[in-house]
Symmetry: C2
Subunit: 206 residues, 2 copies
């Protein structure tokens, strides 16, 4: 019986090497984009030879795909966690906070995603039009119901979600610019956490 899909975590050493490669691939793809990245760079970062990379993944494309697949669930989980049962403002501010933490702790994942969307989402179109859109529609309806019952201010629900994405991901995606503007004595993500909490509190107030 041959192994199934792209990664093949059969033995312990295989699992570890696959992980090392994906870690290196994330580093390089997130910075240079798919075409800008080279296997030489990834091999260098991973500390493995180029053919060895291709022993674990059948192609450059497969490495990228593996990263995107694993990325999606991490990325959607915080929005999934927004519950109808909770207090509306608390739920939304909690989502904002978790997204800021994601930007702080996983900036490369954020940039990988940004690179992909910037290029028109050629390798993620399906996931975006399917899984993501379904989730956004569902949460938009929840936000709308909160607006209808007067718990939060009335506004286009989808654009409220876009605001959260734009403002939180900006600190990861445009990190180079943010740090250049703030100078070395600032912690962008701590400041962003406080600032965005205040911003959304004001915005949501009915």
């Amino acid at each position: 019986m041959t192994s199934g899909a792209t990664p093949k975590p059969r033995t312990r050493i295989q699992a570890r090497n696959s992980e090392t490669i994906l870690e290196a691939a994330l580093e390089v793809f997130s910075t240079y984009g798919f075409r800008g990245a080279t296997l030489d760079q990834i091999a260098e970062v991973a500390g493995l030879s180029k053919p060895n990379l291709l022993y674990y993944f059948p192609s450059k494309e497969a490495m990228h795909q593996a990263l995107l697949t694993r990325l999606l669930s991490t990325w959607l989980d915080p929005l999934r966690d927004v519950k109808a049962s909770g207090d509306p403002v608390t739920e939304i501010l909690g989502y904002v906070r978790r997204k800021v933490e994601l930007s702080r702790d996983y900036p490369r994942e954020s940039r990988l995603f940004a690179n992909e969307i910037l290029q028109g989402a050629p390798r993620m179109r399906e996931a975006i039009e399917g899984e993501l859109k379904t989730l956004v529609d569902e949460k938009s309806a929840l936000l709308q119901s909160w607006m209808d019952q007067g718990s939060i201010a009335r506004m286009p629900p989808a654009h409220l979600i876009f605001s959260i994405w734009a403002l939180t991901q900006h600190y990861a995606d445009f990190d180079a610019q943010v740090r250049a503007m703030l100078g070395p004595d600032h912690d962008p993500f701590t400041e962003a956490g406080d600032y965005l909490d205040t911003l959304f509190r004001k915005l949501l107030a009915p």
Copy 2:
């Protein structure tokens, strides 16, 4: 006497061809990033041969640099236009509106810029740490003075500027995602204009 810098608009036909090439280069670079773009693609879009491109620009690098240079002033002008003499809220909301219009009318320029920052600004570091930082420091001081006099709510001025950038550029940079979420019956930029006007009105209210 030989021609000076990269573009050489000596005759009318040269000016027109340089323009055609830069237009095509913008199209391709903004989508695929610097390394992802190929001269073949640019030549195809421009309707010229590859060697002909290199007759007008000495290298791929030079085309990219020419685009970034021309981009910067277009990008900074709206912020420069924020005047101390005007009404604070009107000035800021005007800036937001102009930035939304830029995203709507020049989305490729926005994506070119995003690509560059995402990669750590390797070809724009100087301009960002110099020209842009100077301007942001200047306008941050202005915003701070407006906060001190109670004209707008108190918040970190630089982060207020980041908010405007993040929210307006999101609609150009993540256009693929925004349209997938909204569906075909929406005009993202019109909705964004109204939504962001409301958002910043609330945020700025003292």
